[in-house]
């Protein structure tokens, strides 16, 4: 339904944004009508939200990247890498301390592991950003330094000598790169395609090719359902509505929506996506914003990785395969344009919910997996078509 061109601009833009939400509502109603007994229950809503959380959080970052005119294909691999890292850290902490201490400091361990995991993701995001803005050499310098240091250490050098050695080599290469004084911007597609393979490989290597089973920590409860029974008094205790992971997702969504809408950083992302040259002309540090942007997006993906770990309670190097396409689909269904400059968090959240609702609903009505895949594909195309139709009507 095209928004009426005579309506005031504000209301029209609101209606435009509500498009994906309406689609979500429609699909939800359809499934509810088909299986009113088991689909529109509180419990099932909890499930749908829980299953949206991981892709949803990653899609927040993905949306930022897409708005800036980029794309991130490394999401799935990064999620796997983070989940493995978190598991390894937890295992290391548990085997390091004695067991009683470990029990007491469960929260501390969990927090530390999560922070290390998310931090690693941030570092990967920084590398991606650095390459996108054309400083491949720096990343190469960093990697070269680390490699030499690592090899030196493996071949018997003391770590107190290996670390400075690594730092010196990295610094020298970095300095050399600076001398070249030439940036070679790469398309985010290529950079993240490379990272898609490299991070997956790193995850497998770290995990030594098999899943990592850490001891149970409070981290695992992030993605469990609240234990409170479902009853009327729940209304007053929202913390029991959904699992903490879902709350994290919703909170982050609000936060990122705010950042995109109400901060300079956010407006600069839109400007860069809309016309990078104009952004540069207007005094925006395009490179700096992109660096921040990819780091931010990777941090969000890192959080998604922690949630994924807590969902499966295992550090699994093969997890998250083709989540990147899910993330892109969520953003695009939500109205973001791959050519940049357009997109909202509200839309992306609706898009992510739409996909897990379809997934859930198809299972509920007993559709087979293959039919579900066809339906999902068709809905992606249909959603984008309708969105275009609506916009053409309005513009």
């Amino acid at each position: 339904m095209p928004a009426d061109p005579r309506l005031p601009t504000r209301i029209r833009s609101l209606l435009d944004q509500l498009g994906p939400l309406l689609a979500l509502l429609g699909v939800w109603s359809l499934f509810a009508a088909l299986r009113w007994d088991i689909f529109p229950t509180w419990e099932n809503t909890q499930s749908i939200l829980l299953q949206t959380a991981v892709i949803g959080v990653a899609a927040l970052g993905g949306t930022m990247v897409i708005i800036s005119g980029g794309i991130d294909l490394s999401v799935g691999s990064l999620i796997a890498l983070v989940s493995v890292t978190v598991a390894l850290v937890l295992r290391g902490l548990a085997s390091g301390g004695d067991s009683s201490a470990a029990d007491a400091s469960g929260y501390g361990d969990a927090a530390l592991a999560a922070v290390i995991g998310v931090g690693l993701a941030g570092l990967c995001g920084l590398s991606i950003g650095t390459m996108v803005i054309g400083r491949v050499g720096r990343v190469a310098a960093f990697i070269a330094g680390s490699l030499v240091g690592y090899i030196a250490w493996r071949s018997g050098l003391d770590y107190r000598a290996a670390l400075p050695l690594a730092a010196v080599i990295a610094a020298a290469a970095w300095w050399g790169e600076g001398k070249l004084n030439s940036s070679i911007p790469l398309s985010p597609f290529i950079v993240t395609l490379g990272m898609w393979g490299a991070l997956r490989g790193a995850a497998k290597g770290l995990a030594d090719n098999s899943a990592v089973y850490p001891p149970a920590t409070p981290l695992n409860s992030l993605m469990r359902f609240p234990s409170a029974p479902i009853e009327a008094s729940l209304i007053l205790r929202p913390q029991y509505w959904w699992s903490p992971g879902v709350w994290i997702f919703l909170a982050l969504a609000c936060f990122i929506a705010g950042v995109l809408r109400y901060t300079q950083f956010g407006r600069h992302i839109y400007a860069i996506g809309s016309n990078e040259q104009t952004a540069r002309l207007c005094g925006i540090h395009v490179e700096r914003v992109k660096l921040k942007l990819y780091a931010c997006a990777a941090l969000l993906t890192g959080i998604a990785g922690v949630l994924q770990f807590s969902f499966v309670e295992v550090g699994d190097p093969t997890t998250g395969a083709s989540y990147e396409l899910g993330v892109i689909a969520a953003a695009v269904i939500g109205g973001a344009s791959l050519s940049g400059g357009v997109g909202t968090i509200l839309g992306t959240v609706a898009g992510a919910l739409l996909m897990s609702t379809i997934n859930n609903g198809c299972t509920k009505i007993g559709l087979e997996v293959w039919m579900q895949e066809i339906v999902t594909g068709a809905i992606i195309v249909a959603a984008v078509t309708l969105d275009k139709l609506r916009h053409r009507g309005a513009g």
């Binding site: 088991i38 419990e43 099932n44 499930s47 829980l50 299953q51 991981v54 497998k204 995990a207 030594d208 090719n209 098999s210 899943a211 089973y213 993605m223 469990r224 359902f225 234990s227 994924q308 969902f311 499966v312 309670e313 295992v314 699994d316 190097p317 093969t318 997890t319 998250g320 395969a321 997934n359 859930n360 299972t363 509920k364 087979e368 997996v369 293959w370």
Partner: protein, 311 residues
């Protein structure tokens, strides 16, 4: 039956083996990352150390990747290794490769899953679990637990995956003959625990009605277990899992899982390497070696016969 003489007559490989005369054998699993295959590898490594050979380990990066595995096999066919241990993802797809390797004088031993061809001629031996029997074992135990008329669910692994399909068929057969009311048996849970868990969560209402569930591989079992935990159903429904992993073993101890059908991957790996070395040394080998499948329950899980299988 006896191994065919033609295979024995082949000159022992290793002529082009690198690295200081140590014999090199390559082991090709269905995928390089999963607990099961890495346990097989451990068995292989144990034998490799014992007999002082070098064991290479390479496979496709994803389960069920026929083309990927075929490429790996081709790459090793002319790589100067002395022998090849292969767990074929598909009995048909890998048959030609196995035959051509054998024809080129590279002895091949098949483990875990079957390949078309004749043991002792196209390949030297077949070391495996009987998957149909394993499925039956699980299915039978489930029927013992839920009884006739019990409501059951079968959780499948992936489309087109041969060994799990056999297990699923075996279990399904037992359920049918046991007179179960089968609530669902067409759910493929995908290749990861996360996907399996989502599927289980989406079917939670069906699961709630069930008396017992059989999951046909490790990821499906893990996903189901996690979903049951999330919904506080763990331990309330009879649950037979397949293949051991720390998560599943712990659940077995807690009583969240009633039984795990366990194969003997360590032994499978060890036996495979040992048989290959026997063959290379010119000793006759059995063309078919069936490794054990056992049912681990809370009661027997600390038995000396079972305990190693759960590690």
């Amino acid at each position: 039956s006896k191994p065919a003489a033609s295979v024995d007559a082949q000159p022992a490989g290793g002529a082009v083996a690198p690295a200081a005369g140590k014999r090199t054998i390559v082991m090709i699993p269905k995928a390089t990352q999963s607990a099961f295959w890495n346990t097989v590898r451990r068995g292989g490594e144990k034998a490799a150390q014992e007999f002082d050979i070098e064991l290479l380990w390479k496979g496709p990066s994803r389960e069920n990747d026929r083309a990927g595995q075929k490429q790996v096999v081709q790459q090793f066919t002319n790589a100067g290794v002395a022998g090849m241990l292969l767990a074929p993802t598909d009995s048909r797809a890998l048959a030609a490769e196995v035959r051509s390797a054998t024809a080129k004088g590279l002895p091949v031993l098949i483990f875990d899953s079957a390949v078309e061809g004749e043991a002792g001629k196209d390949y030297i031996s077949f070391v495996a679990t009987d998957n149909t029997a394993a499925g039956r074992l699980g299915g039978k135990h489930l029927m013992d637990l839920v009884g006739k008329g019990g409501k059951t669910i079968l959780f499948r692994h992936m489309e087109g995956h041969e060994s799990t399909t056999k297990r699923e068929d075996g279990a399904l057969e037992e359920m049918k003959t046991g007179g179960a009311e089968i609530l669902s048996h067409d759910r493929y849970t995908g290749d990861s625990a996360a996907a399996a868990q989502e599927t289980a969560l989406n079917m939670i209402d069906v699961i709630r009605e069930a008396d017992g569930i059989f999951a046909s591989n490790q990821t499906a079992s893990e996903g189901l277990l996690l979903a049951l935990r999330k919904r506080n159903l763990a331990g309330k429904i009879k649950f037979i899992a397949f293949d051991a992993s720390p998560l599943l073993v712990e659940a077995l101890r807690n009583g969240e899982i009633d039984a795990i059908v366990v194969q003997d991957p360590v032994n499978m790996g060890y036996q495979s390497v040992k048989l290959m070395l026997d063959h290379l040394d010119g000793k006759p080998v059995d063309p078919l070696v069936v490794t054990d499948v056992k049912l681990a329950t809370k009661a027997n899980m600390d038995d000396p016969a079972i305990k190693p299988l759960l590690e």
